[in-house]
């Protein structure tokens, strides 16, 4: 253990950075999978993802889920207007 800093103002400040909480994808029980042929590229999943784990770079591409950080909450599946996202239990 290092020496205790003798300071009256030690501040627990965190700045947004990718993966500050570790690879939270390991928490996932259900894996959302985007069905590319059904996707209409409306970006609803990208907008609703609470972890910003869905990446989309243009309106012409199908968004990609970053499984390193996706916790498997399936909000994306719920909001998809054309049921283009299915879920699979991890490990099956």
């Amino acid at each position: 253990m290092s020496e205790i800093p003798d300071n009256h103002l030690i501040l627990p400040i965190s700045k947004p950075t990718k993966g500050a909480g570790g690879k939270t994808g390991s928490w996932r029980v259900f894996r959302p999978v985007i069905l590319e042929d059904k996707c209409i590229k409306c970006m609803m999943c990208w907008m609703y993802c609470p972890e910003a784990a869905i990446e989309a770079h243009s309106r012409n591409e199908v968004p990609k889920i970053n499984y390193d950080y996706c916790k498997g909450c399936l909000v994306c599946k719920e909001v998809c207007p054309v049921s283009a996202i299915k879920s699979e239990r991890e490990g099956e």
Binding site: P5, N7, L9, I10, L11, P12, S14, K15
Partner: protein, 378 residues
């Protein structure tokens, strides 16, 4: 311009906040505090003070809003009592950890059940372990002045902790006394605008960041230790704030303590707030009757004035602590703190606890005189 008026303790507190140029007031009404924030709301409504008044749905939200305002760089104020204080408790602890120097008036009121709206100190004393600086006003002038001093101490770069100022429900809050309302320029000279030395949560001024995310034990302990260091620093800051207040305004309320009749005293009475004021008046009578009794107003309970109390206690043969509060299963709360202090400093003066005035029962000079006589010749 300096004026004099006959006002209640609550109006004095409102004036203290006004003269401190508070910028955000967030509060929820509760007896006997309500008239403080009503007065401030009236001033905001009439445009007499340049502040934002946030009417919230609970005390928990009142402290959250005050803390948010302070984190964004504003001077924030709130006030509460008793049940409201307890409802706010989670955020009271958070405000200290967030290092937001909010000032709050706590109008002491007994806790239910049974329902009771009168004065008792147990509410605020429950928060002595939260990291707030705690001032106790013993009269209405001190209530006004302690709000100003509290901002000065809380916002000091060596401290940066919230501070609460206590006044007894009804005994002070609704009792009118002559009060000097200071000249605004003098207060501005004493209390400069708040300038946060640590962080400002304002997206217009900085990159986005979060405060207080989860930390593992070792780093958590470092952050919490820094609160203890700030408390230790505050001792000298409080003394300096009291001295400079005296230089500018010519009023001395004491710093961490205030002594009365302590010269060649054989017995000391320790008490908080208006109870201590009553004890001081009683000591004056008892001195005339030949009892060498002195009074120590404990003006600040956090940081606790350990050295000052031990030094005075060492010179006398008997101590009485009057507690308008109780820690069930232990002792009067102030008495417990004083006994621990004396043990730490190897002072063996016997301490007698007198629990009085629970639920607002009047503490009269006769009661204090009786307590003194019981112990004096033992």
């Amino acid at each position: 311009m300096e004026t004099y008026d006959v006002i209640t303790g609550n109006d004095a507190v409102a004036w203290g906040a006004r003269l401190s140029r508070v910028e955000v007031i967030a509060a929820y009404p509760i007896t006997p505090q309500t008239t403080i924030v009503e007065k401030l709301a009236e001033w905001v409504d009439k445009g007499e003070i340049d502040a934002r008044y946030i009417a919230v749905e609970s005390e928990h939200s009142a402290m959250s809003a005050a803390m948010g305002a302070s984190a964004a760089g504003a001077r924030a104020f709130t006030a509460t009592s008793s049940q409201g204080f307890l409802y706010m408790f989670e955020m009271i602890s958070w405000a200290a950890g967030a290092r937001t120097p909010v000032v709050m008036a706590v109008v002491n009121r007994a806790l239910g059940p049974p329902w009771n709206i009168w004065s008792e100190h147990t509410d605020a004393l429950m928060a002595r372990d939260t990291g707030w600086i705690q001032f106790w006003a013993s009269n209405n002038q001190e209530a006004l002045d302690s709000i100003i001093q509290a901002y000065r101490v809380a916002e000091d770069k060596k401290v940066i902790l919230p501070a609460m100022v206590m006044l007894g429900g009804f005994v002070l809050s609704h009792t009118a006394m002559p009060v000097r309302i200071h000249d605004q320029d003098k207060v501005d000279q004493y209390l400069p605008p708040y300038s946060p030395p640590h962080y400002v949560l304002n997206p217009k001024l900085s990159e986005p960041f979060a405060y207080g995310n989860i930390l593992f034990p070792w780093d958590y302990a470092k952050v919490r230790l820094s609160i203890q260091r700030a408390m230790e620093n505050s001792v000298d800051v409080i003394k300096k704030a009291a001295r400079e207040f005296q230089e500018i305004f010519g009023i001395w309320h004491g710093d961490l303590i205030k002594e009365a009749y302590t010269d060649n005293a054989e017995m000391l009475i320790f008490a908080l707030g208006a109870v201590a004021e009553q004890a001081e008046a009683t000591a004056e009578l008892l001195r005339k009757k030949g009892y060498k009794v002195g009074v120590v107003k404990v003006r600040v309970t956090r940081p606790f004035p350990k050295h000052e109390i031990a030094k005075l206690a060492n010179k006398v043969s008997r101590i009485i602590v009057i507690d308008r509060d109780i820690s069930f299963g232990w002792d009067g709360i102030l008495a417990g703190e004083i006994k621990a202090t004396l043990h730490e400093h190897n002072v063996d003066t016997p301490v007698t606890t007198k629990i009085m005035g629970i639920g607002g029962d009047d503490i009269l000079p006769d009661h204090i005189e009786k307590a003194v006589k019981e112990v004096y010749n033992k």
